[in-house]
């Protein structure tokens, strides 16, 4: 399923753990360097046509740098690394599409929340999620909470360790 985050003004973006590749369809002249060189990643017959897991980061950068237009550009997800990219990286956004240097949004973490049901104990939630209880609503960012499953905690909805004393079996 294609997610909305892949769209940004003027095209699409694709990423792996190291880099983000931007594609601007309106600039693509179908010179086809990209798929002649690396069909594993750039395959116009596939949707989405860019598969960032199809080759190594180095290889993807190399091929993106071949695009003769500004249809393809790339950057490191690590913002610091983008500062000292040298000019031989033709299609780094710094040279090709400087406006995108502001596009911080491209680092989007989509790690699933971990929900661990402990043996005879609470359920432990870890990650990025929204939590509501009573009238409280909060965003937990890279956090961890334990919700009581035994029903006897004095600190509902959180576990306070009482499940051990009551010998909860669940």
């Amino acid at each position: 399923m294609e997610k909305d985050e892949n769209h940004f003004s003027g095209g699409k973006r694709y990423r792996n753990k190291d880099i983000t590749v931007y594609w601007k369809p309106s600039a693509c002249v179908h010179a086809s360097y990209c798929y002649r060189e690396l069909i594993e990643v750039f395959d116009p017959s596939r949707r989405p046509w860019v598969d960032m897991e199809g080759a190594s980061t180095e290889k993807i950068i190399e091929v993106v740098n071949l695009c003769p237009t500004d249809a393809l550009a790339w950057k490191w997800n690590d913002e610091e690394k983008n500062q000292d990219v040298r000019a031989d990286q033709y299609n780094h956004i710094k040279f090709r599409r400087p406006g995108l240097m502001q596009d911080k949004n491209s680092v989007i973490e989509e790690t699933p929340v971990s929900v661990k049901v402990m043996i005879d104990g609470p359920v432990v939630l870890k990650g990025d999620f929204e939590l509501t209880y009573g009238t409280t609503k909060k965003v937990v960012s890279d956090g961890m909470i334990s919700i009581c499953r035994c029903g006897v905690s004095d600190h509902q909805p959180f576990c306070d360790g009482r499940h051990r004393k009551t010998g909860f079996n669940g």
């Binding site: 913002e79 929340v113 971990s114 509501t132």
Partner: protein
């Protein structure tokens, strides 16, 4: 250097009063006792301790 502030909530976790814990979205549930791992998209976990279908709510909390 700026923080990575682009972490979006991946799941919605809702404590239902006098009822279960509803979790929906992008998550993986690991049940250590029953040795199961899945990502069903939406679940209701028992919080009352009385369910006969743990870790899920089976409405026993209403009794």
């Amino acid at each position: 250097m700026e923080e990575n502030n682009n972490k979006k909530p991946q799941a919605i976790v809702e404590v239902i009063e006098f009822g279960p814990l509803k979790i929906s979205g992008n998550f993986i549930i690991k049940d250590l006792k029953r040795n199961k791992e899945e990502s069903p998209g939406e679940i209701w976990l028992c919080r009352c301790g009385k369910s006969n279908n743990k870790p899920y709510c089976d409405d026993s909390h209403k009794k």
